[in-house]
């Protein structure tokens, strides 16, 4: 019955579409819809006369033409102007190139080479008349991280060496359908990895697991069922099912891997609201809410662009499995670019009973400005100034924040990250700001940050630094450092975290 209704609806649309087309054809003039009258006196440049009579067509000299267009492109790679270095003289931006015989780091692939050359081979197709063809390709990629850290927090020292491994397996069927599985065999979920602790209590902290952290399928209905649908049917609805990461509002509302199903539609337009992305989701497991009970989450999320301003609206209801008090969450964010500045304002609201810590709010203001200065000390180019301001009430909790790297967030001076990861906010507000600098074509990055936070009127100050450096085509290393000072000794923190990464 549902299928026949669906077909009937599609058939009606098809009929209307054909009728409209027939109406268009019936009209004598080209069927256009003029919203306002066209301008009068419009004339397009006349075509030049036929090039058979020399002298009638103005032709600049060959040398003038070549000089104006940057020379020839036939004889040297990228043409005369680039190969001679002339083009580089006209700008302070560097010319970034790899050699023609560069061999890029490749993932492990079954099927055609990943983003490689050769003919596209099609095997199989979705059902239906002229169902869309498949180009299956399996890709395995990932990263391995070695890390070491030392931290003194609340009078307690911790020194450790550890590692983390991320393994991703991706099976692509088409440009819109694929399966994906991710394993973190030595560091489950947000643990950050397994490590050996040298300080007391010493020993190996094992976070290994054979369970995949993510496994999901994503596909578009218009692609899967295109063999049955009219090309005019708006069936660009994406279905996602499995355990997949879900993060919204800059990771502040949810940042977790959740088991569920989601329907999305993108590129919707209402008036001059554009790029509307609507998502409806139901997560029935693995919701790492900060409550002792297990629960489900159901909700709606929308992203909207309006004249370059980006909006996010979310409503989520967390429903405990035991039928107890649920929690309502609503959030709104707006990001606006003003000149060289970007401003984002976020309001996250929680409505819950006292058993769920009561009502809570989190308000955040984020700002940054791109900044170029002519003086580069030792080649460092200050590039980005940023600042965050936030206020959280005691009742505020994020819905689920398990996807933060627990180890690295300890070295994050910005308190917002810890709040999003599930830290009990109390009544607190804070401000942080800093600068990110780059060096050597952004292969090196240095971020310096200062933060001040007040919890129940008690201030804490923090300094943080992050240094990243690319080493080879597939390796890089990172150093995090933090120093927190507060009258509350439990909040004092001093430490460093160093990592080395290899990607494939």
């Amino acid at each position: 019955m549902m299928q026949s209704r669906c077909q009937c609806r599609h058939f009606r649309r098809l009929v209307f579409g054909l009728a409209a087309l027939a109406a268009l054809r019936a009209s004598a003039d080209p069927p256009t819809r003029d919203l306002i009258p066209p301008p009068v006196g419009v004339s397009f440049p006349e075509l030049p006369p036929e090039p058979v009579a020399p002298g009638r067509l103005e032709l600049p000299s060959l040398q003038h033409e070549l000089a104006e267009k940057g020379g020839s492109t036939l004889y040297v790679p990228e043409g005369d102007a680039v190969a001679s270095g002339y083009s580089s003289q006209l700008t302070h931006h560097p010319l970034l190139r790899l050699s023609e015989d560069w061999t890029e780091p490749q993932p492990f692939t079954i099927g055609p080479p990943y983003l490689g050359t050769g003919p596209v081979q099609l095997y199989g197709r979705w059902p239906g008349t002229d169902g869309y063809a498949w180009e299956p390709r399996f890709v395995q990629y990932g990263s391995y991280q070695l890390f070491g850290f030392g931290i003194r927090q609340g009078g307690r020292d911790q020194v450790a060496l550890g590692h983390q491994l991320l393994l991703d397996f991706d099976l692509r069927l088409t440009g819109t359908e694929r399966f994906h599985v991710q394993y973190r065999p030595i560091g489950r979920d947000g643990s950050g990895g397994s490590y050996y602790q040298f300080t007391s209590p010493s020993g190996y902290v094992d976070a290994s697991t054979a369970e995949p952290s993510r496994y999901w399928f994503e596909g578009e209905l218009a692609s899967m069922f295109g063999g049955y649908l009219s090309p005019l049917v708006r069936a660009d609805i994406t279905v996602t099912a499995g355990k997949f990461p879900f993060a919204v509002h800059n990771f502040l509302l949810i940042n977790d891997e959740l088991l569920g199903v989601m329907l999305s539609q993108d590129n919707l337009t209402v008036g001059n609201l554009s790029n509307i992305n609507l998502q409806a989701f139901y997560f029935f497991n693995d919701v790492s809410a900060p409550y002792p009970e297990q629960g489900r989450a159901v909700g709606l999320h929308a992203q909207i662009d309006h004249r370059g301003a980006f909006h996010e609206l979310t409503y989520v209801y967390w429903d405990p499995d035991d039928g107890g008090d649920g929690v309502h969450h609503a959030a709104f964010s707006r990001t606006q670019m003003i000149g060289a500045c970007t401003l984002a304002a976020r309001a996250l609201l929680k409505m819950a009973s006292a058993r769920r810590f009561g009502n809570g709010q989190l308000f955040v203001l984020e700002a940054n400005r791109e900044w170029d200065v002519p003086i580069h000390l030792a080649g460092w180019e200050p590039h980005l100034l940023f600042a965050n301001l936030y206020w959280a009430t005691p009742g505020w909790r994020s819905i689920a924040g398990a996807n933060f790297n627990r180890l690295e967030t300890a070295f994050e001076v910005n308190p917002l990250v810890n709040i999003a990861a599930g830290l009990q906010p109390d009544d607190r507000w804070g401000i942080s700001g800093g600068v990110q600098c780059f060096r050597h074509h952004e292969d090196q990055s240095l971020t310096l940050e200062m933060a001040m936070e007040s919890i129940r009127g008690e201030p804490a100050w923090g300094l943080g630094a992050r240094y990243q450096q690319k080493l080879t085509a597939r390796t890089w290393w990172e150093l995090l450092a933090i120093a927190n000072e507060s009258e509350d000794a439990a909040r004092d923190r001093l430490g460093a975290f160093a990592s080395w990464f290899i990607l494939w």
């Binding site: 579409g17 087309l21 268009l24 054809r25 080209p30 069927p31 256009t32 003029d34 919203l35 301008p39 009068v40 006196g41 419009v42 004339s43 397009f44 440049p45 090039p51 067509l57 060959l62 104006e68 267009k69 940057g70 020839s72 036939l74 004889y75 102007a81 006209l90 931006h93 970034l96 023609e100 890029e104 780091p105 983003l115 490689g116 050359t117 596209v120 099609l122 063809a133 890709v139 991703d168 440009g175 819109t176 994503e218 692609s223 295109g226 005019l232 990771f251 590129n267 554009s274 998502q279 662009d305 370059g308 301003a309 980006f310 000149g339 970007t342 990055s445 940050e449 890089w476 990464f501």
Partner: protein, 681 residues
Amino acid sequence: MRKQRRVFTCCPRIACVVLLLAGSTLPAQSPMTHPRPDYAPDWPEVSWIIATKCTGCHRPQSEQTDLTSYAAMMAAGHAEDDPLIIPGDAENSPLWQKVAWNVDARVGSELPDEPEMPPKRHEWLTRGQLERLRRWIDAGAKQFALPGTCQPRPLSELDFPSAKQCGACHPRQYEQWSRSMHAYAQHSPVFEAFNLTLIERTGGTLGTFCSRCHTPIGTTLGENGSMRNVHRTRISREGVTCVVCHRRGDGVYRASGRIHVEPGGIVSGCIYGPFDDSPSQPTGAHPSIGRPYLQQPQFCAECHDVVSPSGVRLEEAFAEWLHSPSARRGVTCQHCHMGPVQGKPIPEDHWPVGPAAEVPGIPIEKMPQRPLSDHTFAGPDYSMLPDTEFPWKLDWMYEVDYRDESRLTPYQRRSLLELRRANRRQLAIATAKRYELLGNAARIQVTHAPVARAGRLPVTVTVTSIFGGHHFPTGFSAERQAWIAIDVRDAGGRVVYRSGDLDPNGDLRDAHSDAVRAHQVPADLHLFSLQNKFVTLTQKGTEGSVVLPVNRFVAPISFVRPAPLPSMSFGRPPGLRIAKASLPAEQSMHRTFHINVPCDSDSLTIDVRLLFRHLPPNLLDRVGVAHLKPQLEIVTIDQYRAVVPVVSRPSKRLSRNSMPQATPPRPESGVAGLVTGSKNP
């Protein structure tokens, strides 16, 4: 006798030596060994020459000698005891005699000044081509063939017909395509630079993601993304050539360019087109079959809806169309971009009618009448190459440096001049169609008080999209710039208010302006721009707009890998999105500019223009083709001009509701319409 005995006794030794020597030269009789095939290194080039210059006329079932295959060429003329090709003897081969000519303009040469074939002057064989042909015939006129064990047989340039071959029978479509951005797709120096820059920024892992759309054949043949254009094959440089569309038998929907083009010679493979009643058989031309999918927007979406592997929606033209008024009306991409008026949705039965093919030797009356599409595919881009290199080139330009005219033969000079004229004509047609398209994009409406009083004068500018297919602008939307430039001057010509003007580099004064970021010029806070922007998430959770879609804020290495999260569902990956400011189809946006009215002026001249530019200068700076910035053209799509008298004595403030409409512009204040703006300074 003794001699005989000596010979006889020596014979066994000699025989052994002879046998050993013979055995060493005989092929090893192993089941894994096959006889070495004939290797004719000149055959691929000779085959290309003949295919592109001869087979339009010289095809089976025609009055001309069939040259469409090696077998046909070698069999030609034998029945009359006058073979076309005499292996080993080029001098006496009729094929050679017909094409040879005094290519070096040598005085006293016995060769004719003009060859008998090919008939078109610009197709005469070059010196290099003549040498190849002669060498090939003298070496035995063999066909290059790989051994049978070479499976699957690697594809070569010969497996895909050149557009020139198609042009022999489809001159109209070939001419239109030649000036199109499909033909320019791989030629574009901006694309080449952009692609190479992104390959560097991603450590090479971008691979062929970009070049797979811009040169599907080249990528199929094994040319990676880093290969420079000068090293690419000819068929590769044809970009989106004829067979890229007309040899696609399978639909792949939004595949971001991963399309399957069926290989095969011009007559050995099937051509897909919009018509199901092809008269191919009686004409000796290629077999063809109708495929309705070619007329659906989903066909265009296979390249014009691009999502990177990490989930960044780089192009959304199809997705925008799907939710547009045009889709609701059944108007497709092809109606607007292949119809007789670019940018106007005209159905096929309103298109001009004529023969889709003009087959040499076949009376034109015998060709079926078809609604004729326009293969110019007008868009906002245009060629930035010299007029010697696009749309057409001459074969000899690859052998002789045409830049030094003093070293050219008279033939080369003349053909170069004719080439430049022909190319300029094509570029002018392409420009006219581009203007036509842009002229059908949007209009502005300006409202303000008819009289300005001391204080503030609000000027409201409304931009309205007048087409229903997709946003304005679209395509690689983070590049296209459309904005309102407003300039208000007093009676003395002093600038009272200005927005939408450019910085010293020619950029808009926004976040992408180097001058704004360096505090050299103030940001244009009132800029009314429809340009989309790439926005990346920085380390500290804030977002910043970037010119190149690579996020280096979070990590110093950007690998292109399949996104580990369902990015299609979100429409973007977490670290990078497109901030969309473009105007949806048939919608309006407005902005009010508040002008401070000076007390000491009698009048204000208000000049408002809707401007368009297909690429920003800061992008060209970053990808290494800054020398092309002077070629960036700013097109005025619509404009408004008015002179408003200023009343110095203040009076009662008018309420917003009682604000009268603007008076029509005075006759001398200019014409609303499409005007070419100036090139970038």
